[in-house]
Symmetry: C2
Subunit: 207 residues, 2 copies
DNA sequence: CGCCAAAATATGACGGTGTCAAGATTGATT
DNA sequence: AATCAATCTTGACACCGTCATATTTTGGCG
């Protein structure tokens, strides 16, 4: 039924997947402002209201896209942290760089993932927002776990009582903030990404 | 002509100021989504297109609001940094706390000031965007200046070659990121603001 | 004072958006 | 074959930003 989605198109095929894919393309092409349900439907070749049978809201659709973004980000962190070659210190540096570069590579997706469009209030289907949280929360928890290890190895500069959660919030805040400022083109030049990340690493490591 | 704007109302009074004020109120009340030119015009008591004689765009209006936000933020930083009582170390801590609390107190304004709505592309009147930059840029420069002093006093943890610009970008990134995550309600509880800020201060100071 | 150009405001219209209600079509199940 | 629920379409509504055009008001000048 849901398997073998190759030729088993009854009405349209499985619209849900197609909508997510194409909407993701539109997001990448023209930013969040270019993503409208009507244009999406036209591009897919269905009527304007067809998507409403697979997503309660436009918001629910956007949550679906963001969801895959968090899965992707989570995956990236894991494979980087579990790598065998580099030292722990190098992995810390990798985390900073890779995180910011992920945002740099997918600016509109990142903007969507962390924008208030999605996270504010409970606009759309509770189920959809719940699924989003189910994808995003483990992603953050993994960052706490990584931070805990860096902390136990005395890598991070700090004097008072240690808290992996607090340290993780600060670290995530830093990469998130750098990424946002970079993406939005506020005062940082994209060309200096690596330099800024290197400097951040140096400021956090104990000397 | 532009002076004495008290009783010199010819058509409506000075609409421009009124529009900025009321739009700012609407922003504070219901977030950016509640700010529409039509509702704004209705609330002020003019026709829908009257605002277009004072702002080229909706974007230009938003830039005007954000502009005052940057002036406000700049002012806050200055008065805090120039205070006589506290030590430099305490001023550093104050900067972190006050910045994040500014965002916490005016979430929608802060979101607007740093959102891509305004900074992306050259949508609206160049003049408007230019005025915005003229308000925002000194604000950032002042943060670089503060950072330079902290750096020269050897307050900040760091090993390599010093750069006030890079350090400032990292610091701003951190407070900006914490503020954003907080505002958007992603994974941090607003109740923990002070704790998180304290922890950030501790991670940046040299021990 | 009277007139005129310019600034300010208003009305109408256009294309775009998200979303609901109601009807039509299809696929699978009995 | 008949039925039923899932799926899709059409029509409509209320918003939105913005342009073209007409109307009013103002300030300055002869």
């Amino acid at each position: 039924m849901k398997n073998t989605p190759e030729k088993s198109k009854y009405h349209h095929g499985d619209l849900r997947t197609t909508l997510l894919t194409v909407a993701g393309e539109m997001l990448k092409e023209g930013g969040i402002e270019e993503v409208s349900l009507r244009k999406l439907a036209a591009r897919v070749g269905v009527s304007r209201t067809a998507p409403y049978h697979h997503f309660k809201d436009k918001n629910a659709l956007l949550c679906g896209i963001a969801e895959s973004g968090f899965t992707q980000l989570h995956q990236m962190n894991k494979s980087s942290f579990k790598a065998e070659g580099p030292s722990t210190k190098e992995k810390f540096s990798s985390f900073i760089h890779e995180y910011v570069n992920f945002a740099k590579a997918n600016p509109d997706l990142y903007e969507l993932m962390f924008g208030r469009t999605i996270w504010k209030h409970e606009n759309s289907s509770k189920e959809s927002t719940q699924k989003l949280r189910d994808a995003a929360y483990p992603c953050f928890q993994y960052q706490v776990a990584m931070t805990r290890e860096w902390q136990q190895l005395k890598l991070l500069n700090h004097s008072g009582e240690e808290s992996a959660l607090r340290a993780s919030q600060v670290l995530w805040g830093t990469v998130h903030g750098i990424a946002k400022l970079l993406i939005d083109g506020i005062y940082t030049d994209v060309a200096h990404v690596e330099e800024i990340c290197d400097y951040a690493v140096d400021m956090f490591l104990v000397h």
